[in-house]
């Protein structure tokens, strides 16, 4: 049992990890075909895993409905929405589920007129959250906070027409802030992240890092 739970996954991680590195440097058609097959296998596993996700989601909401937890009505809405979408997918404007979804079908209508506006609304909330986060954060309590406030002000003004109306220097200063210190910081973070990714990958490939298997390193 230990072999299946510990040893075999480590061997698999090592073999597939080394193959993944090698195919990056080997252009031979055999290597490229292997890379494409690995990607397909991953997609197949991910597709089966969606059944697990669906079961988890349905169980979560059913538990809430059964226990009448706060907000259980929304769980009923989740069940109802799921059922309605499944009905429209299966019906597919009379063509059945094994044809491509009809352009004028109920599924497409629900997706474009219900789902997309909902996600757009969630995205738009960010505008208000940015404002509330900025209000809380941009207070000049220290030199660093004052510098952050000043830089944020310049960049925000530089991105809108009123900045250029106030002074021609503001858009140029905003551009410089984004192109020089911001870019330098971003690249510094990326350098560290890249080295960290190499180190983490090596730890996983050689079985030094095993926490993802569950439990400790033993």
């Amino acid at each position: 049992m230990i072999f299946l739970r510990r040893t075999f996954p480590l061997i698999l991680a090592f073999v597939v990890g080394v193959i993944g590195i090698l195919v990056f440097y080997v252009p031979h058609s055999v290597a490229q075909a292997l890379e494409r097959d690995l990607a397909k296998w991953f997609m197949i596993i991910a597709a089966f895993a969606y059944f697990l996700g669906l079961y988890s989601l349905m169980t979560l909401h059913w538990t809430r409905v059964r226990a009448r937890q706060p907000g259980w009505g929304y769980s009923l809405v989740a069940y109802l929405s799921f059922a309605v979408m499944v009905v429209f997918i299966v019906y597919n404007d009379g063509h059945g589920p094994f044809h491509a979804q009809a352009e004028a079908g109920g599924y497409q209508w629900l997706y474009l007129n219900v789902y997309v506006p909902c996600t757009s609304s969630m995205f738009s909330i960010l505008a208000f959250f940015i404002a509330s986060a900025a209000y809380r954060t941009f207070r000049a309590r220290s030199p660093e906070a004052a510098l952050l406030l000043l830089a944020g002000l310049i960049v925000m003004l530089g991105r809108v027409p009123i900045g250029a109306y106030i002074s021609d220097v503001i858009p140029d200063a905003a551009q410089w802030l984004m192109a020089v210190p911001n870019m330098a910081a971003k690249r510094g973070i990326l350098l560290g992240v890249s080295l960290g990714a190499i180190a983490t990958s090596l730890r996983i490939i050689f079985g030094i890092e095993r926490a993802y298997l569950g439990g400790g390193e033993e």
């Binding site: 058609s29 706060p70 730890r203």
Partner: protein, 407 residues
């Protein structure tokens, strides 16, 4: 016989050239044809210098044939003044003379009917001819010796990448080996030091700890790092007898997280406290996930939010909502676009590589700490190379920046 053929070919060359072209383009440049490097076959590369006295609207045409006697088929057409070797540094490098040579990668040629296209076959010999065509006529060059497209076994254009990766990997492995012999100093990471404080706070308040995974799938490094942190967090919550809830957007990440939390509770001797329903998928879509997690934050009011992994636009939705509930928030991500949002709204933030270092930091296991030291040595080398590269580039010496250019 050979002399007659030579005279005939020379005569043919002269006959197709009108007097107007003969005064402008006097000869066809000599071409070089070879197998295109770093590919899976099916392609050859042809290079040639510009012709003398090239008039406007002149084009170079590459013709291929399977026999030196023909028939030749059109394979590529290059406008004069375009397609120089300096545009393809992966194949030709950074030599100065590349700006004065044309090139064409040829993978197919026109069929017999002139409309369809026939792909080149790997291993089959082909003969190449260059024709200079201008508005007043065309000049045909000599036919090359046979050239074959081959499959290659190594991308030589990525040699610098391979060597750098190998060097850093050796440094990291040596550091891991060294770590077993002596204690290594690792600087304090406030976000990880505060983990116990956050979990203790949740235990005292009798409220849950909410662990939020990012949007990336299990194959991504930040998700693996997040699962490693989850293992430590689950062990602590089992010890403290606090409730742990884990939200996921990916079903595979959910499965791995369930197993991780279960093992952690087993190790802590609290298998009875593990509830698989506490590790669940709330949605498989970005903003559905955001809405669901925000709902959990507002309804259940966890005392601590731990957000680890790769995040996108939903990061601020999580962090700002959590800030409004008064929970202690610890975030960690390698997404540099989301770091500013986490820094401004969370109590502690693990930036970039600190997320990857978390597993080593929390476990204090020598081999893991050794890999951190290897990263630091790599960064020191990068720092030296950066400074040297800036100085040399300022002095117009470019070999160092070229050596580190991705091709």
């Amino acid at each position: 016989m050979i002399l007659l053929r030579l005279i005939a070919s020379l005569t043919l060359t002269i006959l197709v050239v009108s007097p107007a072209t003969a005064q402008l383009v006097s000869s066809v440049p000599e071409i070089t044809a070879f197998d295109t490097p770093d590919d899976a076959g099916g392609s050859i590369t042809v290079t040639w210098p510009p012709a003398d006295h090239v008039p406007p609207a002149t084009v170079y045409r590459i013709y291929l044939a399977e026999s030196s006697a023909g028939p030749f088929h059109l394979a590529a057409e290059i406008d004069a003044g375009t397609s120089f070797q300096s545009e393809d540094t992966a194949v030709f490098g950074f030599a100065e003379e590349n700006a004065n040579r044309h090139f064409a990668h040829v993978k197919s040629y026109a069929g017999d009917n002139g409309e369809s296209s026939t792909d080149m076959v790997t291993g089959r010999p082909y003969f190449v001819r260059l024709v200079v065509r201008s508005p007043s006529g065309e000049l045909r060059g000599a036919v090359t010796t046979a050239v074959e497209a081959e499959q290659n076994y190594f991308k030589w254009s990525k040699l610098n990448n391979f060597l750098l990766g190998t060097v850093f990997s050796i440094i990291i492995m040596l550091s891991i080996a060294l770590a077993r012999r002596r204690e290594l100093y690792i600087r304090r990471i406030p976000g990880l030091e505060a983990m116990d404080e956050a979990l203790g706070r949740a235990t005292e308040m009798g409220r849950a700890v909410l662990f939020i995974h990012g949007l990336r799938d299990m194959a991504q490094i930040p998700t693996i790092a997040a699962v490693n942190i989850l293992s430590r967090v689950a062990r602590r919550t089992a010890d403290f007898d606090a409730k742990l809830r884990v939200t996921n957007v990916d079903p595979i990440v959910m499965s791995v997280s369930q197993e991780t939390v279960k093992e952690a509770y087993l190790e802590a001797g609290r298998p009875d406290a593990f509830n698989p329903d506490d590790v669940f998928v709330v949605a498989t879509d970005q903003f559905s996930y955001a809405a669901a997690v925000q709902g959990i934050m507002l309804r259940e009011r966890p005392a601590a939010h731990i957000m680890m992994g790769g995040f996108f636009a939903e990061a601020l939705l999580f962090a700002e909502t959590g800030a409004q509930t008064g929970a202690i928030q610890i975030a960690g991500t390698d997404s540099y676009t989301q770091l500013p949002f986490f820094i401004t709204t969370c109590d502690y933030t693990l930036m970039g590589e600190e997320l990857y270092a978390a597993s080593a930091y929390l476990s204090r296991e020598p081999r893991l700490l050794g890999s951190l030291k290897g990263q630091d040595i790599g960064k020191a080398i990068f720092l030296v190379v950066l400074i040297a590269g800036v100085v040399l580039a300022t002095l117009d010496v470019s070999f160092l920046s070229q050596a580190f250019t991705a091709r």
